[in-house]
Subunit: 702 residues, 2 copies
C-alpha cells in the first residue's frame, strides 16, 4: 500500500508500540510481539511493559510516555480494564493508529458496550485510527508485517481478506498455508468501534498490491456508506463476500455473537447487488472464487469449451453450465476441422470435447491449442480423470504451456487425489485454478463472467421526471399537521397525480344519483368503491364493484355495496363511494412498494399482485435512487417475468410504463423523507400502458 | 457377498479367465491381469492368449476351450472384432459370467450398436451374466479382487459404488486413496447390455458387506424395475445417487456420450424420490454424504447442537441449518446448568454453544459430555478454528472419546489445513466425519435425517376407490372405435362421473329456452359453455359465462356466447351450449394431470391453476400408483401450498377432497392403459370440497 493511501498508518507503519508486550510465552502480548519479530517486520518495534528491561531481545519501555519517538501504530494487548488508560497514553505520545486486540467489550453486554463507546469517542477526539477492539490484528505481507495473535503468516500474493470474525481469519491463514495461495493484506475487523468495513474496502480498493478482495461480514455499520464505497471499488477489482446471519436462525446466532442487529436481509442483498459485490453462500465458494479471480483473466462472454478424457464428468460440467447460465457453444468450423484431424474417430469433437479415456498429454495439448484459437470460445475448462492411460504431470504441463500463449481464462478439474496430486500442484503453482470437481470450476467461471459484465455495464443513466413537488408537499404537510400517519385515499392519489403517475379519474360521491352523474361525465365503464376512514381494507365489506357499463349497473352496485357495508360494519362512518374510470380489463397486475431500511435507506420492491408472489418469495428489490438499468433489472428479475413478457402467445405488457412508475417512486422516496412507506397495489398493466388503481402512503415526521 | 446372493458369479468368482491377457505392459490385457495378481486375488486365474506359454508367471491357454475347468467369470480384453467369438468360446466352456472391458459398441454408432445387441442376445441365450461392454471392470475388496484396468485398489470399508462412467470410477478410486475412506464393491456398469443398474442395486442391497450404496447414472434402462427394486433396498440401507444429464445441455452431452436418450427429468426425479433414494447434485456432495452415512448412526430428529470456539462459523452453521430444515434447539435446563458451570462467563450457552476462542480441549470435552446427555439434542456438530489457544489433536481426542459413549451422531468441521490436519486425520480414522467447512456437515446431517424419516415412514396405505369401470370402458371403446384420440367433453365428464369425481351436473341444450329450463331443473346459479367439436379451447371464442343467477341472465348469456362464436368462427359447427351447475365461487383453482413416461410409466402432476405455476415450475410429480402418503406429499410439496392452507387468515381448503381426486386419477391410469393423458383443469376447491369443472382425456390403442 502506498504510504499516502488510506489506512497506511495501520497497514504500513514505520514503527509499532506493543502495549502489553510480555515475557510470558502463554500471554497474548508475548505471542503478538513474537509474531511481529518472526514475521520479519523491518520497522522499529517498541515493546511497552511497566517492568521495562528487555523482551525477546528488544528494549522495553515502562509506558508509552517513555518512547523515544512517536510510534505510527500502537497495539494494545492488555486486560480490558487497562485498555482506555493505555490508549490515552498512546494518544499523548502522538500515535497515528491504535489496534486493540483485547476482547470483552460490546460483545459481552452493557458494561463492555459503554467502555467501547468511550474508546471510540477518545479515538475520534484525538484523531486516531482505531482498529478493534476484539480483533485478531492485521497482516501486510508486502512489508512482512504480522501484527496478529495468529500463528501462521501467509505467502505473498494478490488476495486481501477482511473479516468480522477473528477466528475465521485464523482458519483461513491455516488453510492458505496448505493450498499455495498467496495473500497481500489480512485484517480482522473486530467490533468495528473505529475502522469499519467501508473504510477497509476503500483502502483495499486503492491498494496496488491487492487484486482481489474477499470478505466475511455479519453486520454492516453504515449501509449507505458501505454501498457507495463498494460500488467504486468493484469498478476496479472484484469484491467477493460472504454475509452470515441471513436466515432467522443465523440472525439469532449473530446477535448473540456480536450484539449487532442483523439488518433487513433484502436490503443488504440489494445493496451488495447494486454495488457489484459478488455474494457467495459458503466459505468454500469464497475461496474457490478468490483463487480463480486472482489467477485468471475475466472471460469476455458466456461460451465455455470443455475438454475432457471421460464422458461422465463432461456431462456433469454441462449440467453445471446450464445451471450457471453459461453456454457450451459448438466450436467454429475451423476449430472442428483441426479437432477432426487431431482426434481419433470415436472422440466427440463437439462441446464437451471428449478426447476419450486413452488420451495422453499430447492429445490434450493438440486439442487445447485448437480451442485456444477458437474465436467462439471465451473460456476453457480442462477435465482429467486418472484413467490407465492418463499422463497427469505431462497433461498439466500442456495446460500450462497453452495458458501461457492464450488470452482466454483456463481452468482445470483434475479428479482424484493421490495420483492426480502432482499435476494439480503444478497447475496451482502456475496460476491455473484446479478444482477437485467440475461444478466449482463452472461456478467460478460464471462469477467471473458476471463481474466482467458488471465492469462493462452501460454507464448508469439517472432519470429525473417532471413532478409537482409543491403540490405533494402541501398534501403531506396537511396530513402531518393533523397527525395522520396513513394518508386518505384521495390524498394519496393526489400525490400520485403530482408525480404524474397514470391514475384513474376519481370522484367521491354521496348518493347513487351523484354516482351516475359522475360516471356519465367520466365516461363508462367505471368502478365504484366504498369510502370510509374506518376501513383498512375494502375487501372487508366486499366494497368494490368493477366494470360498470350502464346507469342501472351503477345504481345496483351502489345499493349492494352500501347495504353490505352497513350490514357488516354498522359501527363505521361511510363517507360515500368513489367513482373511478376503469383501467384496462384484461390487464396483468403488479405491485410496487417502498419502505425505508434503517441501514440502507429506501428499499423499492416489485412483484406480481396476489398472494402467490409473497408465498413464493418472488419479489425483487433495489435500493433507491434507481438508475435506468436498475428499473430494467428489477422488473426482469422476478421469476414470474415471463408472465409480463407474455407466455403461450400472450401479448407482452408495456414494460416501459412500469419502469417509469418505478423511477417516479424512487424520486418520491428521495424528495420526501417524510414518506415512510408507499404501496401501489395493484397496478394494472397491459400492452398499452400501466394504470395505478390504488395507492397507500404512510408518513411521519422526519 | 454371500455365494448364493445375486451376481455372486461376478463379485465372488472362484476362478477367472482373462481372455486377451497380454505380455506387453502397455496393453490393457496386461494391465488387467497384473491388477488381478497384485490385488491379491486368491482364486484361480487363467490367462487366455493364442500364443500360450506363461504370462506374469501364470500358465496361459491358447483358447477358452483349452481351460482345465470352467471358469466362473470370463473377462474379455480384446479388440472389438474378436469379442463375440471369444464370448462364444467362453459360453462353450460353461462360464457363468462375462465382463467385457472392450469399448467401441453402442457408444460409437450403428455398427457398434448391432454388435452389442448380438452380444446381449448371446448372453441371454446361453444364460450368462454379462457386465459391459465398455466397462472399467469391478472390484470386491472382501476377496481382494481387483478386476479393473484402473490402477488403485481402495481400502476395505462398507461403501459400495456403481457408476455408468468408467472414468469416474478411476477418479474415485484415486480420491478414496487419499481420504482414508474404505470401499466394499466397485462396479463400472459400462453400456449395460446385460447387467443393469437395477440388478446391481438389488445385489448390493443384499450384500452384508455393503452399508452404504452410492451411484452415478446418466440413464436408466427400465424405470419401473429400477424404482421397485430401489424401494426395497432403501428400506435396508441408504442409496445416494447423482443423476447426470438433467439439464438440456447435460442431456445433449449424455446422448452424445452414451447414445442413450435421457428420459423425462420429472419422472426420474419422482422415481428417485418415491424409491427413497437420496439424490445429490454434485460429486462432492456424493462423497460428503457417503462418508457420513458410513460412519455415523442416523439422527432420530431435527435438533442439531453446534459447539464452536468462534462465533462466525457458528453463524454460518446456523444459516445452513435453517436452509436444510434442521433446528438449533435450545438445550434442556439440566444441560444449560451443566454448561453454565463448565464454561466461562462470556461463553454463549445457547445453541450454537460458543465456548470462545481461548477454549482448550478440556472445555470442548466438558461441553460435549453435557451435550451428549442432552435429551433434546439429536445430533452434534463440533466446529474448531485454529486459534492461538486451540489444542487441535487433544480436541479431536475429546470428540472421539465422547463419540464412543454417545448414541447420537457426531460430526466435526475443523477449519483450516496444515495446523488442523493431524486432528482431522485422527477424526476420520476414528469414523467421525470431518469437513473443511460447516455447511457440508450440516447438509450431510440433514440428508441422514431424511433417510431416517424415510425408513420410519408409515406403512404405505394403498386405497381402492369404488368406480364403475364398465361404464368408463364402454365410453373409451366407443371413442377408439370411431378413431377419436381426444374424447368429447361430455364423454370425458362421463368417465369422471364413473370414477365418482365431483363433477358438475351438465346438459347439452340447443336453444336458450332449453337452457333456461335446464337451469331451473338444476337450480341456479349455472354456467353456460359453448360446445363444438371443432374448438380446441372455448377461450378462443370467449365461449363461457359463469355464475348466472336468473332466466334473464341465462338468455342474455346464450345470445352473447353464440353470437360471438358465429362471428369469430363462422366456419365451425356449433352443437349448442352446455348448462352446468356452478362450483364454489370464491374457490382456489388447482390442476391435476397425468401423462405416461416411456421409462417410468404414469406420471401424475399437481399444481395451482394459471400460467404462474408453469412459469415458476411450481409443479409436483409422483409416479402412479399413488399410496396415501404420496397424495399427501404431492399436494404439500408445491411451494404455493400456503395458498391452499390459507394465508393472511384465509380459510384452508378441503385437502382431502383434492387427495381423493388424485387417488382416483392414479386408479384410472392403472385401469386404462388406453388413456394416454388426462387433465383436470381447473378443479375448484374451497373449505367444503372440490369440484372438477373441466376434464380432457386423450386415448390411443394399447
Amino acid at each position: 500500500m502506498h504510504p499516502d493511501a488510506h489506512l497506511s498508518e495501520l497497514f504500513s507503519p514505520a514503527s509499532i508500540a506493543v502495549v502489553g508486550a510480555s515475557r510470558s510465552p502463554i500471554k497474548l502480548g508475548h505471542v503478538l510481539l513474537s509474531n511481529l519479530i518472526s514475521g520479519g517486520y523491518r520497522g522499529t518495534i517498541f515493546p511497552v511493559n511497566p517492568a521495562g528491561g528487555e523482551i525477546l531481545g528488544l528494549t522495553a519501555y515502562p509506558t508509552a510516555a517513555d518512547l523515544p519517538r512517536p510510534p505510527d501504530l500502537g497495539i494494545i494487548v492488555l486486560p480490558r480494564e487497562q485498555v482506555l488508560q493505555a490508549m490515552r497514553e498512546l494518544a499523548d505520545a502522538h500515535v497515528d493508529a491504535v489496534c486493540v486486540i483485547t476482547a470483552g467489550f460490546r460483545e459481552t453486554g452493557r458494561d463492555g458496550f459503554e467502555l467501547e463507546m468511550e474508546m471510540a469517542e477518545l479515538a475520534r477526539r484525538r484523531n486516531i485510527t482505531l482498529l478493534g477492539p476484539n480483533t485478531l490484528g492485521l497482516i501486510n505481507t508486502g512489508i512482512d508485517l504480522n501484527a496478529t495473535i495468529a500463528q501462521a503468516m501467509p505467502a505473498k500474493g494478490s488476495i486481501s481478506f477482511f473479516s468480522q470474525s477473528g477466528a475465521l481469519c485464523a482458519a483461513i491463514l491455516d488453510w492458505a498455508d496448505g493450498e499455495s495461495i498467496g495473500f497481500s493484506k489480512f485484517i480482522s475487523l473486530g467490533n468495528k468501534a473505529g475502522v469499519s468495513e467501508a473504510d477497509v474496502l476503500e483502502a483495499l480498493g486503492d491498494d496496488p498490491d491487492t487484486k482481489v478482495i474477499i470478505g466475511y461480514l455479519e453486520s454492516v455499520e453504515d449501509g449507505r456508506k458501505f454501498q457507495s464505497r463498494a460500488r467504486l471499488v468493484t469498478e476496479k477489482k472484484p469484491v467477493i463476500m460472504i454475509k452470515a446471519g441471513t436466515t432467522p436462525a443465523g440472525a439469532r446466532a449473530t446477535s448473540s455473537h456480536t450484539g449487532a442487529m442483523a439488518g433487513n436481509v433484502e436490503a443488504a442483498t440489494a445493496a451488495f447487488k447494486q454495488a457489484g459485490i459478488i455474494r457467495v453462500e459458503s466459505l468454500e465458494e469464497l475461496f474457490d472464487l478468490a483463487r480463480a479471480f486472482a489467477a485468471q483473466p475475466l472471460p469476455e462472454g458466456p461460451n465455455l469449451t470443455v475438454v475432457t478424457n471421460s464422458g461422465g464428468p463432461g456431462i456433469l460440467a454441462a449440467d453445471a453450465c446450464e445451471d450457471a447460465g453459461l453456454n457450451l457453444a459448438r466450436p467454429s468450423l475451423a476449430t472442428l476441422e483441426k479437432l477432426t484431424e487431431a482426434l481419433p474417430p470415436f472422440a466427440s469433437i463437439y462441446n464437451p470435447i471428449d478426447i476419450i479415456g486413452d488420451a495422453k498429454a499430447e492429445r490434450y495439448r493438440a486439442t487445447l491449442e485448437a480451442v485456444a484459437e477458437d474465436e467462439l470460445t471465451h473460456a476453457i475448462l480442462v477435465l482429467l480423470t486418472p484413467t490407465a492411460s492418463a499422463e497427469i504431470v505431462e497433461t498439466a504441463q500442456a495446460v500450462i504451456d497453452v495458458a501461457k500463449t492464450c488470452a482466454k481464462p483456463i481452468f482445470a478439474s483434475f479428479m482424484g487425489d493421490e495420483r492426480i496430486g502432482p499435476g494439480r500442484d503444478m497447475l496451482l503453482k502456475a496460476g491455473i485454478p484446479c478444482y477437485g470437481y467440475p461444478e466449482p470450476a463452472v461456478r467460478a467461471i460464471s462469477a467471473m463472467l458476471a463481474h466482467y459484465r458488471w465492469k462493462n455495464r452501460p454507464y448508469p443513466v439517472e432519470v429525473c421526471f417532471r413532478r409537482d413537488k409543491g403540490r405533494a408537499e402541501r398534501t403531506i404537510e396537511n396530513a402531518l399537521n393533523i397527525g395522520l400517519t396513513e394518508l386518505p385515499f384521495a390524498d394519496a392519489m393526489d400525490i400520485a397525480a403530482a408525480y404524474e403517475l397514470p391514475v384513474p379519474e376519481t370522484r367521491l360521491v354521496r348518493t347513487s344519483e351523484q354516482a351516475v352523474r359522475a360516471a356519465k361525465k367520466m365516461g363508462y365503464p367505471v368502478a365504484l368503491k366504498i369510502e370510509s376512514p374506518h376501513l383498512s381494507s375494502r375487501g372487508e365489506v366486499d366494497g368494490v364493484a368493477l366494470d360498470l357499463h350502464t346507469p342501472r349497473e351503477v345504481r345496483d352496485a351502489w345499493l349492494a355495496i352500501t347495504a353490505r357495508a352497513q350490514r357488516k360494519r354498522p359501527d363505521i362512518y361511510i363517507a360515500g363511494c368513489l367513482v373511478q374510470t376503469m383501467g384496462p380489463v384484461k390487464a396483468r397486475e403488479v405491485v410496487i412498494r417502498f419502505t425505508r431500511d434503517p441501514q440502507f435507506g429506501p428499499l423499492i420492491s416489485f412483484c406480481m399482485a396476489g398472494p402467490s408472489a409473497e408465498v413464493l418469495g418472488d419479489v425483487s428489490y433495489r435500493l433507491a435512487p434507481l438508475a435506468l438499468h436498475d428499473v430494467q433489472d428489477i422488473v426482469r428479475e422476478i421469476r414470474s417475468f415471463p408472465l409480463l413478457r407474455g407466455v403461450r402467445g400472450g401479448e407482452p405488457v408495456n414494460l416501459t410504463a412500469i419502469e417509469d412508475i418505478l423511477l417516479s417512486m424512487s424520486q418520491m422516496a428521495d424528495d420526501f423523507p417524510e414518506i415512510r412507506e408507499a404501496e401501489l397495489n395493484p397496478i394494472l398493466v397491459d400492452a398499452e400502458g400501466a394504470f395505478v388503481t390504488d395507492m397507500r402512503i404512510t408518513v411521519g415526521p422526519i
